[in-house]
């Protein structure tokens, strides 16, 4: 894509040292977020997805590589407040990410107080009400409530409203539906999608659920052991997966049309090999089709 991305990681690496051993949580990770588009980051637990989110939120500093905001390198000591107002996060757990002793109104007005200090009290309240309406909750009913009075789905809508309150350009959503009941998941995904369109947001959707990734994202990346092993347009990658690890993930996704006991996909016979080989460092990048890349699994 030719236009400058809002946010990009370029060759970012992050290693955690624990005792004598090192965990490579990010290895030469590069990707770009564009307005009005969703990029899905898919992987199992421990693959480095959340580390990528934390690098973007500047909770971790990269060991090497850089974070680019509107094309310019983000300085380690740069203006965090302006950055935070442009880049907002929606967390996985709607039960612990809201403060139990604050009303919803306080949750929504606090970011406004911090990021738009010149708003008057009445304007703040109006803005909080407006953002609630955006996430399809009734402001009059919800503003005075406390988190425990709301359902999981409603709370996740509050988390999204809180992120939207400061007019961000980028939303990082880390497993925003995995703790919700199946019947409300779709509503949250559709809401994120509508917001993306209406507000031209760039969304990084982090998930282990490849089916929901396909549902919302134009582009997808598959991550394993800190490396992005395959990436490109969602249709191309899922329609013609080239990396053995991507195929393994796809073969394990529950599919009502494939009963247990039917012929097993070949990848399920080689789980250990695929895991072991995919975890090795691979610097070679191969374009398998226009806009569809893999890091070939070392053999």
């Amino acid at each position: 894509m030719s236009e400058t991305p809002i946010l990009a990681l370029e060759g970012v690496s992050k290693t955690f040292h624990r005792g004598g051993s090192a965990v490579h949580a990010a290895r030469a990770v590069s990707f770009a977020l564009h307005p009005g588009r969703t990029l899905a980051l898919v992987g199992e637990s421990g693959s480095g997805k959340t580390t990528a989110a934390r690098l973007i939120m500047r909770e971790y500093r990269p060991d090497s590589g850089q974070l680019l905001f509107r094309g310019a390198a983000v300085e380690a000591a740069g203006d965090l407040r302006a950055y935070r107002s442009a880049v907002q996060m929606v967390f996985q757990d709607p039960f612990s990410s809201l403060n139990p002793v604050h009303t919803i109104r306080q949750h929504l007005e606090r970011p406004l107080r911090l990021h738009q200090p010149n708003l008057g009290a009445a304007e703040r309240k109006a803005a909080a009400a407006e953002v609630l309406a955006r996430v399809q909750l009734d402001p009059a009913l919800i503003l005075p409530k406390y988190p425990h009075e709301l359902s999981g789905g409603q709370r996740q809508r509050i988390s999204i409203a809180r992120a939207l309150a400061v007019n961000p350009e980028v939303i990082v959503a880390d497993e925003p539906t995995s703790m919700l009941d199946v019947s409300v998941r779709l509503g949250i995904l559709n809401l994120l999608n509508d917001m993306k369109r209406q507000m031209r947001l760039a969304v990084l959707y982090i998930t282990h659920d490849i089916a929901t990734a396909r549902y919302v994202a134009e582009e997808i990346m598959v991550m394993y052991a800190g490396q992005i092993v395959e990436w490109g347009e969602t249709d191309r990658v899922l329609g013609n997966p080239q990396h053995p690890y991507t195929r393994l993930l796809l073969s394990a996704v529950p599919d009502p049309d494939r009963r247990f006991g039917d012929a097993r996909p070949a990848e399920l016979e080689q789980i250990e090999t695929i895991r072991r080989q995919s975890a090795l460092e691979q610097t070679e990048i191969r374009e398998v089709a226009p806009g569809h890349f893999i890091r070939p699994m070392p053999v």
Binding site: E44, V182, L186, N190, R214, P254, D255
Partner: protein, 272 residues
């Protein structure tokens, strides 16, 4: 169904409150055949776990099983058993893998000690016999016998889950209840574990009551499926029939709410 393994009739369970009771399970009846894989699906709070706990009488106040309810397991009415009889029932007749099973192991005991605990309590097995049996059971779930000396924290989540399953099979139960056994695990690990259960069931002949909210997974592994909504069992049918021609509105809604690899996308069709 002639001679079912488990027969539940008119089961009603209330959570008794100070001012009003919450009717968690409302007049539910269903059977599970010997060796059958039965799936129970529904959202959180629909009563599916409450039923699972009631079957092995693990429910605690304020949960009360109402009069007129019947749970018959292999010819015995579970609701009339005394403590000694219950001890005979649990593990031997029915064993349960809990939702957070990987955290249900005792962190300060080795795997071997925990197997010994079960085997000694229920069969009076000696230390060395228990060790041999434990190694045999671990082999069923593809874990090497040298892991017997490990503590739970030295195993991955998927391995701990398999240890719990192996433990549940220690006394050859006729019914294995699994309450969201793989929700905390990654898809690949989930697939490995359920394939293992699927195979063991064919070899050992136990029946499975499988509780989950993942309908796609449930259709993949189950013979029959029951769908619960607010304490009521609204539809029971063969897995394929529930999938291909759901009769109840709620079942259809559940299906429509799940993004699937071959399905619609955000902004397409009626979903958005």
């Amino acid at each position: 169904m002639s001679d079912p393994l488990l027969s539940i009739r008119n089961l009603s369970i209330d959570y008794v409150g100070a001012t009003s009771d919450f009717h968690a399970v409302k007049n539910v009846s269903f059977d599970i055949a010997r060796g059958e894989f039965f799936g129970l699906a529904g959202e959180s709070g629909c009563g599916k776990s409450t039923i699972a706990f009631a079957i092995s009488r693990l429910h605690r106040p304020p949960a009360i099983i109402r009069k007129g309810s019947q749970i018959v397991l292999d010819g015995r009415d579970v609701l009339t058993l005394d403590d000694a009889e219950l001890r005979q029932l649990r593990w031997r007749e029915v064993a349960m893998v809990f939702q957070s099973a990987m955290n249900s192991l005792n962190p300060v005991l080795t795997i071997e000690d925990q197997f010994h605990d079960v085997l000694k309590t229920h069969t009076g097995m000696s230390r060395s016999a228990a060790r041999a049996r434990a190694a045999e059971l671990l082999a069923l779930v593809d874990i090497a016998a040298d892991r017997l000396s490990a503590y739970p924290h030295q195993l991955s989540g998927g391995m701990r889950q398999r240890v719990v399953i192996a433990m549940c099979l220690a006394l050859n139960p006729k019914l294995l209840i699994m309450d969201e056994p793989t929700t905390a695990l990654d898809v690949v690990v989930q697939r490995e574990i359920l394939e293992r259960i699927h195979k063991l069931r064919q070899e050992l002949g136990f029946a499975v009551l499988f509780i989950t909210h993942d309908l796609a997974l449930m259709v993949q592994v189950s013979d029959r499926i029951g769908i619960m909504l607010e304490g009521e069992l609204v539809e029971v049918n063969d897995a394929q029939a529930i999938y291909r021609s759901p009769q109840h509105d709620y079942t259809r809604k559940l299906w429509a709410s799940m993004p699937r690899l071959g399905g619609e996308r955000a902004g397409e069709g009626a979903a958005s």
